[in-house]
Amino acid sequence: MNAQVSVLLPELLLAGMGIFILLVGVLGRGSQRLAFFLANFGVLASMVAVVGVGERGTETFFAGMLQLDRFALFFRLLFLASALLVVWLSRPFLQRAQQTAWEYYALILFATLGMCFLASGVHLAGLYVSLELMALSSYILAGYFRGEVKSHEAATKYFVLGALSSGILIYGLSLMYGATGSLSLAEVSQKLAAGPRSVAATAGMFLLLAGMLFKVAAVPFHVWTPDVYEGAPTPMTAFFSVGPKAAAFAMLVRVLWVGLAPAAADWRLLVSWVAAATMVWGNVAALTQDNVKRMLAYSSIAHAGYTLLGVLAGGPLGTQSVLFYMLVYAVTNLGAFGLVVLLAAKEYAGEKVADFRGLAHRQPVAAFAMLLFLLSLGGIPPTAGFMGKLYLFAAAVHAGYAWLAVVGVIMSAVSLYYYFRIVKEMYLASAGEGEGVAVLSEAWGVRALVVCALATLLFGVYPTSALAFLAPAAKIVPW
């Protein structure tokens, strides 16, 4: 039993630090800087522990609840790294908003804890409670800054639609349990493969799928995304668009390809149409947005659509491309939203496309960083986004979804239009028109952006070692 508890060290550190931060906050001793450094310390210690615990192959822990394979290792590192960058990006925002932030940092840690369990969970009951832990923390974080009505609105919409989707998900789980008699992914898969599928299994599968597609914000389950991303505090928007989304993809890949693999023919049909609709609608709706956060929200919907191609393709190639894309998308999107965080004089400024006007003339470095992130989101070489999309589309073609790859390429071209609207404002509008907003140079925010920009370039120019690291992770998929 001792050996088992020790594998939980990363999660224990996260939870322990979260509780410690709450306690220090309640006692009222210490500055905001202390909270910031405690949060940093907790996340970094947890990262070290993840590496220390390492991989344990296909062995399961806690009576078949967790599996600490390369897949789990990668995703947990990704979540912790995103959490770290979000904590850095929150610093300028919190200073400006003059908010106390003890609970804020603690909730980020608890949300990350839920995501870590989503990455390593192989039992549907465990996955459900982890998903809820992540979601509940996110709802609270969306409404954390109560100065703005928009923040309330975002939290309420997130909450109501999130609760609805988790209701659908749990009903799907109950039907799945009824059809197979178990909630362990491995046993569900065995039962599904053993005989003809019952109506309950099919209905349960689709309800479960609907619940998970809601969490990754795929069309038609995306309606919450634009409002939540627009209304939530910007560092939290960055967090939602990266952490919980990647966690939902981790769960989606694991559930579909480990638990529901015997029924692949059925869910693939549905997911392929959902992927096509998501790519088309996300990009088309983004065209007309004037609010940058809202535009990036639709863009993140579109990116979920591209990623679904890799999920559909499955196999080592498809899974590897999904993991790589999540990595690429995380650094790129954190960078783009991070610039919006820094680009602000007052609380909700930096949101209009016009706020970027003439940025290249005033602050060329910041404008160049934004250009880099936008190129990566649009999938232009030599950025990471290009390599990521290349692998996704290649996997889709390889698995016989050439038509979806074509849709993806066309829609990527469409997406360039709205990404370049920002580029045009930054580079082509003259400085004299000066409605633009300056970029703050808060130390931690800038550091986060530098990390994101370097990673965006690195994975674009030299993706080999990242891909080599991810190749064994794709083995969770049995074929």
Partner: protein, 183 residues
């Protein structure tokens, strides 16, 4: 009389089903939040009865304690806090949302199909595994405890963090903003 005895469990089931569904309908159609909440209470109690019927005595007790005891008090407290009379005057339903109706219809037909499938199936008469541990009869509560704290220890701990988050969240969201405190 013989008929009643033979169909006793069915009669009880129908009675409880009437309670849970009637309460549920009340939740959706009753205008006043207090009435809707009390109607939900009836539904909860009906469901608790169903749990007993399906050999989930422990869950039935938890259902009464957590829902009737905890959740319902929370609801009533908040309903008293917000101005109920002002709420009653507003329109009750959202404008008809066609896509939602379509999604809802599909969802419901999927469920109805499932229910049809299940109608012909009978539960095993023997509920012994639900009240035993390692072949020894111990009662439902002990059996649930046995599996909860062994196989399901990890989700149990995650849920404990979840409850902490809920507590923190309720405090963070519920406390007055600074500018309001001054006013």
């Amino acid at each position: 009389m013989d008929f009643l005895v033979a169909h006793f469990s069915q009669a009880v089931f129908l009675f409880l089903a009437f309670f849970s569904l009637g309460g549920a309908v009340g939740v959706v159609v009753l205008r006043q939040p207090v009435h809707a909440a009390l109607s939900l209470l009836a539904s909860f109690l009906g469901v608790a009865g169903l749990f007993v019927l399906a050999r989930g005595e422990f869950l039935a007790a938890v259902q009464v304690l957590v829902y009737a005891g905890g959740v319902m008090v929370l609801f009533l407290f908040v309903i008293m806090f917000v101005n109920v009379r002002a709420v009653g005057k507003e329109a009750q339903y959202l404008r008809p949302l066609v896509p939602l109706a379509v999604v809802g219809g599909l969802l419901f037909s999927a469920l109805a199909l499932t229910a049809m499938w299940a109608l012909g199936r009978r539960p095993p008469a023997d509920a012994f595994p639900l009240v035993s541990v390692a072949g020894q009869e111990v009662g439902n509560t002990e059996a649930v405890g046995w599996i909860l704290y062994r196989e399901y220890l990890l989700p149990f701990e995650v849920v404990s963090v979840l409850l902490l988050v809920a507590m923190v969240g309720a405090i963070v969201l519920g406390r007055k903003p600074k500018e309001m405190e001054k006013a």
